[in-house]
Amino acid sequence: MKVLVPVKRVIDYQVKVRVKPDQTGVDLANVKMSMNPFCEIAVEEAVRLKEKNAATEIVVVSIGPQAAQETLRTALAMGADRGIHIVTDDIVEPLAVAKLLKGVVEAEQPGLVILGKQAIDDDSNQTGQMLAALLGWPQATFASKVELAPDAATVTREVDGGLQTLRLALPAIVTTDLRLNEPRYASLPNIMKAKKKEIAAKAPADFGVSTAPRLKVVKVTEPPKRQAGIKVKSVQELVDKLKNEAGVL
C-alpha cells in the first residue's frame, strides 16, 4: 500500500517568536526553520509501517517556497521514498492546501494519508479533516496508535475524555498526535542517500487550484503580557496571599 505524507516547513519549535513592529506578521528573517513536529511524527509513522511491511511506498509532499525542498529531503532521509514539491511563494491556507493535496491523492492513489494534526505556526488544525471531506474519506484525527491491515486502519485517538479507537475502511485519513511515536534522527548515510531520491516539482496551477487567500490579515500583535508577580518565602506566606490578597481560597 502506498502512503502519502504531507509535510510543512515551519519556524523551529524552539525559536522565540517575535511580532514585527509594523504588525504585519511575525519576523521570519534569518530564523531557524524545521519540519513541523507533527509532520515529523507522520513521516516516522509511515516509515514504521513500511518497516513492518504494511506500507510499500512512502510519498512525501510539501507546498511552499524553494526552501521547502529541505523539509522534503529531511523526510526522504528519515525513510520516505520520493517527494513532490508544489512550489509557491504564496501563503497557502489550509483549504487550498487540502485542495492541492486532493489533486496529489487523485494522481498517486494512496491507501492512507498521514498528516500532522496541526502546524505549530498558524495552529489551525484543519488540513487533514478538510482533505478527508473533499475526498469523502473517513478520518481519525489526533492518533496515538495506528494499526494497518490491507483493507482497514485501526486507530486510537486522543480525545478530551481519554482515548477512543476507530476502525476506518481504506482509503482513509489519519492525523498524528504527540504520543504516536518518537521520530528518528536521520543517519548520515541516509542523509546522503536522500540526496539522490527523486523530488518532482509541480505548481498549484498543475492541479487547477487557486491559492488566493480567503482570510485577510488585519494585524498581528503581541499577546497581552503577564506581569511576573512576587516570590513568596514560605508555604504559609503563599496560603496567606492566596486567601487575603488574591481572594482565591
Binding site: 511580532v19 495552529d123 481519554g162 508577580g229 503563599l238
Partner: protein
C-alpha cells in the same frame, strides 16, 4: 441571518462550553440557534433550550451521531447551512475534528480557536502557541468558526427556546467505533474547573504524581492537569495535558508544580486569573508568568501546602 452553535454534550449532559460559544455567537449579531447532534440526546437539548436568548434548539437524534463522529456531524450540519450565516463549534476535540469537514464542504476557510469576536467577519485568534495574536477578516460568505470557550463568559440561563427535530444521517461513513478508555474521575472537568493543580516532569514518576498532585487537587476541589513532559513520561494520561496542542484552560487558580514552563505549556494556561508556581529552579520560565512563585523542593512544599490548607478548612 442567524448563527448556528453546535452544542458540546455527551447526550445526557450539556457542557458549559456551549453557553460560552453562544456568547461568541451573539457577538456576531443576529439570532442564535443551537444544534444538539447525538443519540438519545433529548436531555442535552432540554438544557440547551434554557440558555438565555437562544431562538430555537435543533435536535438531530440518531445512532450515527452516538459519538458525534466528524463524518456524521458533517452530514448533519452541511444541509442546515442554507439557513445560517455562520456555524460555531467549541474548540474541543469534537469540534476540532468536525468543523474543518463542514468548512471544506462549504468551500470556506475556517477560523480556528477564536478568542474574540470583533464583528460578523472579524475575529482574533492566537497563533504561534499564543506568542502572537492574529486579527483576521473572513471574506467568505459563510463562516465556520471554532471558539476557545474559556475566552468567553457563559450566556445566562432562564430561556425557554422551542426544540425542533432535524434529520440525522444514516450510518455507514466508513468509520466504525471500536472502543474507548475514558478517564473516570469525580474531579471537575479540566476546561471548566475553577481551580487546577498541574504536575510536571519534576514529579519523577506516575506514583509520585498520584501521591502529591491528586490529594492537593482533591483538597481544593480542583481538576488535575499536566505538562506535556509529564504526559510523555507516562505520569499522567493524555487528557490531562494543558498547552498549545492539549487543553486551553483559564481557571481562577492554577497551581503549577514542578513545571518549568515551556512556551507550549504557557499557551494553555497563561489566561488563568491567579498562577502559582512551585519549582526548585529559580530561573524556570514559569516564574515569569506566575503571580506567586515559591522556589524549593516540591516534595516537601506540596505536603506542607496541604497541611496549611487543612488549617484554614480545606
Amino acid at each position: 441571518m442567524p448563527v448556528l452553535v453546535v452544542a458540546s454534550h455527551d447526550n445526557a449532559i450539556l457542557k458549559e462550553a456551549t453557553a460560552k460559544v453562544v456568547t461568541a455567537a451573539a457577538a456576531m449579531g443576529g439570532e442564535v440557534d443551537i444544534l444538539v447532534a447525538g443519540e438519545n440526546a433529548a436531555a442535552a437539548a432540554s438544557s440547551a433550550a434554557t440558555i438565555a436568548s437562544v431562538r430555537k434548539v435543533l435536535l438531530a437524534d440518531g445512532a450515527a451521531l452516538a459519538r458525534q463522529g466528524a463524518e456524521a456531524l458533517e452530514a448533519t450540519i452541511v444541509p442546515l447551512m442554507g439557513g445560517y450565516d455562520a456555524v460555531l463549534f467549541a474548540a474541543d476535540t469534537t469540534g476540532k475534528n468536525a468543523a474543518p469537514r463542514v468548512a471544506a464542504k462549504l468551500d470556506v476557510m475556517q477560523l480556528s480557536g477564536v478568542t474574540e469576536v470583533l464583528s460578523p467577519n472579524t475575529f482574533v485568534r492566537p497563533i504561534y502557541a499564543g506568542n502572537a495574536m492574529l486579527t483576521v477578516e473572513s471574506t467568505d460568505i459563510k463562516k465556520v468558526v471554532t471558539v476557545q470557550a474559556t475566552a468567553f463568559r457563559p450566556a445566562g440561563a432562564g430561556g425557554s427556546a422551542p426544540i425542533e427535530s432535524v434529520a440525522a444521517p444514516a450510518e455507514g461513513f466508513g468509520s466504525t467505533f471500536v472502543g474507548e478508555e475514558l478517564s473516570k474521575s469525580d474531579r471537575p472537568e479540566l476546561t471548566a474547573a475553577k481551580r487546577i493543580v498541574s504536575g510536571g516532569r519534576a514529579l519523577g514518576s506516575d506514583e509520585q504524581f498520584r501521591r502529591l498532585i491528586e490529594p492537593l487537587a482533591d483538597r481544593l476541589g480542583a481538576a488535575v492537569g499536566a505538562s506535556r513532559a509529564a504526559v510523555d513520561a507516562g505520569y499522567a494520561p493524555n487528557d490531562y495535558q494543558v498547552g498549545q496542542t492539549g487543553k486551553v484552560v483559564a481557571p481562577e487558580l492554577y497551581i503549577a508544580v514542578g513545571i518549568s514552563g515551556a512556551i507550549q505549556h504557557l499557551a494553555g494556561m497563561k489566561d488563568s486569573k491567579v498562577i502559582v508556581a512551585i519549582n526548585k529552579d529559580d530561573d524556570a520560565p514559569i516564574f515569569q508568568v506566575a503571580d506567586y512563585s515559591l522556589v524549593g523542593d516540591l516534595f516537601t512544599l506540596v505536603p506542607e501546602l496541604e497541611t496549611e490548607l487543612a488549617k484554614i478548612g480545606y
